[in-house]
């Protein structure tokens, strides 16, 4: 069955609500809007949906969405754990279900009110699931603190600097400045703003952190044959992978032999093994950017450069349009919206349809990744 998933399914519809720091509607309503928008984009009736996938952190469950939109009998549903690590896996699970005949029309979605809702880490009562007994009592409280620890070690080991992290923040912001839907549309970032901004967890400053956003997104997955009859050009799921590395400990990874090689490396090995092309053939990348420091680590993990070379890779405009690897062309989690990385998937689809607001001319292949630092997932999409 090797390669059975390759190009067997395609994303044929995408839908998004508005992104804002605060939206009035509840998460469930936003979820339904995004799902219906994606089905409309595909030209597929809600009654045909028979598969759902989302994140375990999604608060609206598939029963509610199916009922609300008028889905028919559902024969496959799946939820993926580990927060932003689950984004690409939702599509991967649907692709596997459709490719193996368990379903015919799948919808993946994420709805989130992180901008106006509570931050999970502010609730003392949920601060200490047992894996956190080794970190949180010492005041290592938030993802920014946990990833900041890896960032400082990375900077120490490889001579990476804040200017390298700025390159990442700037590329995302520049793309958001081209995207009217982005929260940071028309809000340019300068090096001075970056260097003088407040700290969140040294060595990470305000602009190294993703946005806090309300919004919802969805996409529709069908078999390749069906895809040819849909409204939009199909975007094929070429390869997909999840990654939970040996001896991984969520968010921190400090107890691996090598904490700077995280879940990205594990996912990448499987992703490329199943693909007809390699990192050099990727036209545009959507790399999970809850924190800027995750990008150089992911560039290494997914094989765009060697170990320790991820920071240097960002130099010379490599991540900008026209550069070696245009990155997060909608603005990413740093500057478009942070909806647990789902906007990276929809942006990948827009690039391969040729409809991005920061279009890479002729883009035919796109890597999309989910959260690095936690059990993760990734997709290779092709037109």
């Amino acid at each position: 069955m090797t390669g059975a998933l390759k190009d067997a399914t395609a994303i044929v519809g995408i839908g998004e609500t508005r992104f804002a720091r605060q939206l009035a509607e509840p998460e469930k309503t936003l979820a339904c809007r995004a799902v219906l928008a994606a089905l409309d984009d595909a030209g597929i009736s809600p009654a045909e949906v028979d598969a759902f996938a989302s994140y375990t952190m999604e608060e609206t469950d598939e029963v509610e969405v199916a009922k609300a939109i008028g889905a028919g009998d559902v024969t496959f549903f799946s939820k993926v754990g580990y927060g932003g690590g689950g984004s690409c896996a939702t599509v991967a699970h649907l692709a596997a279900a459709v490719a193996t005949g368990q379903a015919t029309v799948g919808v993946a979605w994420r709805s989130r009110k992180r901008g106006s809702g509570p931050r999970p880490w502010t609730n003392t009562a949920v601060q200490l699931p047992t894996p956190a007994q080794w970190t949180r009592p010492h005041g290592l409280l938030r993802p920014a603190d946990e990833i900041g620890m890896l960032a400082r070690r990375y900077m120490h080991e490889y001579g990476a600097t804040r200017d390298h992290l700025f390159n990442v923040a700037l590329a995302c912001r520049n793309r958001a400045n081209q995207n009217p839907a982005a929260i940071m549309y028309e809000r340019p970032l300068t090096r001075e703003m970056y260097m003088t901004s407040r700290w969140i967890s040294e060595p990470l400053c305000l602009f190294d952190n993703c946005l806090e956003t309300d919004g919802a997104l969805a996409c529709v997955v069908v078999g390749a044959e069906r895809a040819r009859d849909c409204r939009r050009p199909p975007v094929y799921v070429h390869s997909a992978a999840q990654g939970l590395p040996a001896q991984h400990h969520g968010m921190v990874n400090y107890w691996n032999d090598d904490p700077l090689t995280g879940p990205a490396w594990t996912a990448a090995r499987h992703l490329w093994k199943r693909a007809d092309f390699g990192p050099d053939d990727v036209d545009v990348a959507q790399i999970y950017d809850a924190f800027t420091a995750l990008v150089p680590l992911s560039l290494e993990g997914y094989g765009f450069c060697g170990r320790g070379e991820g920071a240097a890779f960002t130099e010379g405009g490599a991540l900008e349009i026209g550069g070696r690897l245009p990155l997060n062309t909608g603005g990413g989690g740093l500057s478009e919206a942070y909806v647990h990385g789902f906007n990276l998937i929809t942006e990948g689809v827009k690039q391969l349809r040729g409809t991005s607001t920061a279009q890479v001319p002729g883009a035919a292949t796109c890597l999309v990744t989910a959260g690095e630092g936690v059990p993760t997932s990734a997709l290779l999409l092709r037109s």
């Binding site: 200490l128 409280l141 400082r152 700290w199 967890s201 107890w255 904490p259």
Partner: protein, 138 residues
């Protein structure tokens, strides 16, 4: 401040720490150390463990200086407190998260964060059951 929520696997670590001993779980069959604690050995799958006494010496592997917004008790100490990952001298792949403090019993904001360095030698001390790390003269 948050107190550790211990589970059955982690309880021995905290019980030893409360007595001022830094002990790490090891396999009674193949001898490999492991952290965090768990029911069985990832190398040989044995369920027999032993808690090995460490010298308490280590080096700073990395550190952060958190700034608000933080939980209130931590926000009150920020941005003067640090959180470090310390690599144990006896077992470099065993790393512990903790705070570097000026002296045994000193508060977690007692070291100027500007003085912290990756690679700096530190020695364990205990504040209740919480291991803390005191700089050593190298």
């Amino acid at each position: 401040m948050l107190e550790p929520v211990t589970d059955e696997d982690g309880a021995p670590f905290w019980a030893y720490a409360a007595r001022g001993e830094l002990r790490v779980q090891g396999c009674a069959r193949c001898g490999e150390l492991r952290f965090p604690p768990r029911p069985c050995c990832p190398h040989c799958q044995s369920f027999d463990d032993e808690w090995r006494l460490m010298s308490g010496r280590g080096r700073v592997w990395s550190y952060v200086v958190p700034h608000p917004p933080l939980l209130p008790a931590y926000a009150a100490l920020a941005p003067r407190y640090n959180v470090a990952v310390v690599e144990l001298a006896d077992a470099p792949r065993i790393r512990l998260v903790g705070n570097v403090v000026a002296a045994p019993g000193a508060p977690i904001d007692s070291v100027d964060p500007a003085r912290l360095r990756i690679g700096a030698p530190v020695r364990v001390s205990f504040d209740g059951a919480l291991p803390r790390w005191v700089p050593e003269r190298s």
